[in-house]
């Protein structure tokens, strides 16, 4: 299967280790992380991470839901 690129924006409650959890989340599910950007939201305690991912996985949608297993996840958007 061909590798495709996915860009996902994840709004999180900013806490140490949240980034590690997100990276772990994608690695466990067969994604490779190409780049990560952190964007300050202006709102206290909230930041947005933009992940560029490579994946052969088709069922990306269902992983969107599963990102909410990380309690700090507030919102997920595909770009």
């Amino acid at each position: 299967m061909k590798e495709t690129k996915k860009v996902v924006s994840i709004l999180v409650f900013d806490k140490p280790n949240v980034l590690i959890k997100l990276i772990g989340f994608f690695e466990k599910r067969g994604y490779t992380v190409e780049s990560i950007n952190l964007i300050k939201t202006g709102e206290k305690e909230k930041v947005r991470y933009i992940f560029v991912l490579n994946t052969k996985e088709k069922s990306f949608e269902k992983h969107k839901n599963q990102l909410f297993r990380i309690v700090e996840t507030l919102d997920v958007k595909f770009l």
Binding site: N17, N65, R69, V71
Partner: protein, 557 residues
């Protein structure tokens, strides 16, 4: 006025109405234990003999009461000893708050004595965790820890607190509250979805309710029973869902999956609509996922949206508290469709292929479970360990009340039973608590017999001694040509004598008659007691769906 970190912790525990903590001291929690010493009338300390035991005890307390279990341990080895207990609680969605001591902030990162990065270690097995490296953060972190552990889908949260933070002082009026608004779970329920669900039930021929641990956790047991009875829909439960039991027994078809009932699995494989409530579709109930419930559409209701569409495809996923949702569904009129032919079809399977074992020859473990069922009342809390003993308990005990079956489902942690039973009894002094354990697992936290003696915990223990790691041996017998690698336990201690050494009464049984006498006797006793049951070493758990097989490929013997 200034107040110390240790004092903040204790105040927060009191604010959360914590009555018991399960704690073990050490260098980096001396300040906290010193503060707790001032409050022994408000917060009772239960001290296990091993931090793993303490963590399972807190877990048993939480599972049986619904209140959070609190663990306090020292840094380094104290903290790492809790990891199995935390992972056990995580897999079964049990609310724990684990407070670990840490080396002083100035020493962190230097490989100091008893320093371990416990927040990193527990990252994948906690809902979240906190490293408090400033006194300002202490109170907010504890607020969030209790909030997160107990709301939404519950689970363990760890708070790592360096010893100098416990000693540091802060002006009382400067203490902040945790911002729990950031962690609110969704409460709005989409009524349109419920109308959809209702319509699907109305249009189905063979609906089936699959009730899971989420139903127990949300306190929806009675509502789910009522919903099933009102609409005449058959019901099965997962291992964690035991406790749901409709008064109309004709609707109840027990369990599914690897060691479910024949008819429970038949129901899944033949249903055309599964209404799944608070379940996570673990591989132990799915078998081969491609062949799971081939005829059924699945409606999945769960408070944790990350479970929906995770393991099985659904026609309708509804995020929300199952209690609220069933309550709304109960307001709908009774479904007009008549499902009695479907129920008759299942009942016939039940008559043809009941759960059974041979009631002669050497003493069978299943009989002991049936005796416990016979002599103890329905509100007795039954705790199992892991292995065959667990599956026999699940199959042959009739669980009729929520929170009466405590078992390590997701992690399958041997050694869970004894300490969890201790915690359950502490949380339920007015209920009987019976432990049914294997001989292998019992020896994994056997030191906690000393805890029973210290606090005079009136616990009834039954050790099913088959001189094997029976469940693994069963796989070896069936799938590995009887090559019993590392499973015989020919050198078990005499558990009866062992109990006596700890100051606990005991009875040894080896035949059917002795078994009945002994179980009746312990049901009348008002003190801790252990039954050492020497049972048939070759007994197996059936039915069985081999790992990865379809639920149709069920072995009856």
């Amino acid at each position: 006025m200034k107040i110390t970190g240790a004092s903040i912790i204790v105040k927060k525990l009191i604010e959360q109405n914590i009555e018991y903590i399960f704690g073990y001291p050490g260098g980096s929690v001396i300040p906290l234990f010193d503060e707790l010493y001032n409050y022994t009338d408000r917060i009772k300390l239960i001290q296990p003999r091993h931090e793993q035991g303490g963590t399972h005890a807190a877990d048993g307390y939480a599972r049986s009461t619904g209140k959070p279990g609190v663990v306090v341990v020292t840094s380094g080895p104290g903290a790492t000893n809790t990891v199995t207990g935390i992972a056990t609680a995580f897999m079964d969605s049990v609310p724990l708050v684990v407070i670990t001591g840490q080396v002083p902030v100035s020493l962190m990162g230097t490989d100091a004595f008893q320093e371990v990065d416990i927040t990193a270690i527990t990252l994948p097995v906690t809902k979240t965790n906190f490293l408090v490296n400033h006194i300002n953060e202490l109170a907010p972190s504890l607020d969030l820890a209790f909030h997160i552990a107990t709301t939404g889908r519950p689970g363990p949260v760890l708070v790592d607190i360096p010893s100098d933070i416990q000693k540091a002082e802060i002006e009382e009026r400067k203490i902040k509250r945790g911002n729990i608004e950031n962690f609110q779970t969704k409460t709005r329920i989409d009524e349109k979805q419920l109308e959809n669900a209702y319509e699907m039930i109305e249009n189905s021929e063979k609906p089936l309710i699959l009730s899971g641990g989420g139903v127990i956790i949300s306190g929806a047991t009675r509502l789910v029973e009522r919903f099933a009875e009102k609409n005449n829909i058959p019901i099965i439960t997962t291992l964690m869902g035991k406790g749901v039991y409709p008064k109309n027994e004709d609707l109840f078809f027990e369990g599914l999956g690897m060691h479910g009932t024949y008819y429970g699995n038949y129901a899944v494989q033949n249903s055309d609509l599964i209404i799944a409530l608070g379940v996570r579709f673990s591989d132990r109930i799915l078998g081969n996922v491609e062949k799971f419930a081939p005829r059924a559409k699945i409606i999945h209701i769960d408070i944790d949206r990350s479970e929906i569409e995770k393991n099985v495809a659904t026609i309708l996923g509804i995020e929300g508290d199952v209690k609220k949702i069933i309550n709304i569904l109960l307001n709908f009129p009774k479904v007009k469709k008549d499902f009695s032919r479907w129920i008759e079809e299942l009942s016939e399977q039940k008559r043809k292929f009941p759960l059974k074992y041979e009631k002669r020859g050497q003493l069978k473990p299943q009989y002991i479970v049936e005796l416990v069922n016979k002599y103890f009342s329905d509100n007795t809390i039954i705790v199992s360990d892991v292995g065959q003993n667990q599956m026999w308990t699940a199959q042959f005990y009739k669980f009729k009340e929520p929170r009466t079956f405590l078992t390590s489902g997701g992690l399958g942690t041997m050694g869970f039973g004894l300490p969890a039973a201790i915690g359950a009894k502490i949380g339920n002094p007015d209920k009987e608590v019976v432990l049914i354990s294997g001989d292998g697992g019992f020896q994994m936290n056997i030191q906690e017999l000393a805890t029973i003696r210290r606090y005079d915990i009136n616990l009834k223990m039954i050790v099913i001694d088959n001189a094997y790691l029976g469940m693994v041996k069963q796989w070896q017998e069936l799938f590995y040509e009887k090559r019993y690698s590392a499973t015989p336990l020919p050198d078990n201690p005499d558990f009866s004598s062992l109990a006596k050494v700890f100051g606990i009464n005991s009875i040894t049984i080896k035949d059917w008659e002795e078994a009945e006498k002994a179980v009746r006797k312990i049901s009348e006793m008002n003190e801790p007691v252990l039954i050492h049951a020497l049972v048939d070493r070759d007994e197996k758990v059936f039915p069985m769906v081999p790992a990865g097989a379809s639920l149709n490929e069920i072995m009856l013997e």
